[in-house]
Amino acid sequence: MIVAERKPIEEILPWLEGARSVLVLGCNECVTVCEAGGKKEAGMLAATLRLLFAKEGREVNVGERTLERQCDPEYLDELRDTIDGYDAVVSLACGVGVQFTAERYPSKPVYPGVNTCFMGAALERGVWAERCQGCGQCLLALTGAVCPVARCAKRLLNGPCGGSTAGKCEIGPDVDCAWQLIIDRLKALGRMADYERLIPVKDWSKDRAGGPRKVVREDVRP
């Protein structure tokens, strides 16, 4: 999933100066699972805003709504009848949802209520960790299904570097050395001979380096 973190309210408030009605817009997908921008968090942010506006003596109508997802025009269209009643939208979706909402409603100010962090998974309740950077050319077959691009601080394709200590990365004792994990996996799979295969120079043009990316599937287009 895409993992996000709630922005501090102090960062959001100044954007809403002068607004007389604000829609807090949650998303029922990834940000719900990582507890940053689902229905519950939309309700919490809306309640906080109401309280703060009241404290400032401002009469602001704060609405809340959570869409099935904000990365799909079909669901965004559900706002068509109500959105004109609001001066501003605070979207709690990932950066994709914020932009897609803004693209759908070009004259409406849409602000991000979360910081979009990474593609990752829950290690346990309340702890999420990065696993993929969407480099566009998956290498996991070569590395025992542990990604050096997402998990090595230097994204070394032929690691580890000299800073790997007791299974941890040189950047800190809380970070696993990806290459230690790769080696452990290769060992468990009986594939240690693969370690000595040099992974060739990567084609980063399929990564963000190549510019904004698009996937077109002619076979599924209408």
Partner: protein, 310 residues
């Protein structure tokens, strides 16, 4: 073995002499006088001088400019190049820049993560890794081609080296990793500083078992300790460094004003012990901001005078 490049370091190693290299860090400004002075101090006692490339991610005068300066002084520089800060275009471009000044040695490195330095908020590049940089330099030199495939007019004639840390984890891949670096094109290896000689000997045993010492020249790295405090710092704070307790104890066991001397003596003894290890082709003496003591270490370790090569 015939030398493949005009590198003096390569000629000395191929002639079977124990080579001696050292290193100098460029200044944190544009005043080069101190570096020139450091280089002058060691020039008669070493075969080549590594110039570090923004080591520990602290921004400094560039390695390339400092190497050119040394070259113009008649010294033999080793251009250290990390893949942290430059993509494949910039790396190859700088290699050509170095080659245009007939800099004949390069050391291909990953580079410390930027979080250790003075620009922890910076982006890192890592377009290539250190092994891929080795492959790139060899391709440029041996095939006369850029990574992109186009031909190079007057390809770089560089003796290609890599670093290896026998003490990093996991220990079991430290020999396979060296094999991988040699397969990628490394012709000489400079190791991380050695304080744990026993562990280093175990690594060298593994290196010899695979005949890797015959495929690349292995220069054992040493760094004299200035004080017990430095020994403790190296032990606890520097990633991938193995400083045994007895080394710390030995340094702490002499009065503060004599610890520097003890550090030099320990360094000389380490070199002498390492000379007995089969497969060692030379020494890389990294005297951090202590270059003035290098001549003494070289002399006391029986490595002077340096051989003349044609």
């Amino acid at each position: 073995m015939n030398a493949k490049t005009p590198s003096r370091l390569e000629k000395i190693l191929r002639a079977g002499h124990l080579a001696v290299t050292s290193e100098c860090g460029p200044p944190r400004g544009s005043d080069i006088r101190h570096l020139v002075q450091k280089a002058e101090t060691i020039r008669r006692h070493v075969d080549a001088v590594n110039i570090t490339d923004n080591q520990t991610s602290v921004c400094r005068l560039c390695s390339l400019a400092a190497c050119i300066r040394l070259k113009l002084m008649g010294l033999e520089p080793v251009l250290q190049m990390v893949v942290r800060d430059r993509n494949r275009i910039a790396l190859q471009s700088d290699i050509l820049g170095a080659a245009s000044f007939d800099i004949h040695n390069i050391l291909c490195l990953s580079g410390d993560h930027q979080r250790f330095g003075d620009h922890a908020q910076g982006q890192n590049v890592f377009d290539l890794d250190s092994m891929q940089l080795l492959q790139t330099v060899r391709r440029m030199r041996d095939e006369g081609r850029f990574l992109g495939g186009d031909p190079i007019e007057r390809p770089p004639a560089m003796f290609v080296g890599a670093a290896e840390n026998p003490f990093a984890d996991p220990f079991e891949i430290r020999v396979p990793r060296l094999a991988k670096k040699i397969a990628a094109g490394a012709e000489f290896i400079q190791t991380q500083c050695i304080y744990n000689v026993e562990r280093f000997e175990r690594w060298m045993q593994g290196v010899r078992d695979r005949g890797l010492h015959e495929q690349a020249f292995i220069l054992a790295g040493v760094t004299p300790l200035k004080s017990a405090g430095m020994a403790r710092y190296m032990k606890n704070k520097v990633p991938g460094m193995d400083v045994p307790d007895e080394v710390v104890k030995r340094m702490a066991g002499v009065p503060k004003d004599r610890q520097a001397e003890e550090g030099i003596t320990l360094c000389v003894e380490t070199i002498q012990r390492l000379k007995e290890v089969p497969g060692i082709a030379g020494f890389h003496i990294m005297a951090i901001e202590w270059e003035e003591r290098v001549p003494e270490i070289v002399e006391r370790a029986g490595l002077a005078p340096r051989p003349a090569v044609p």
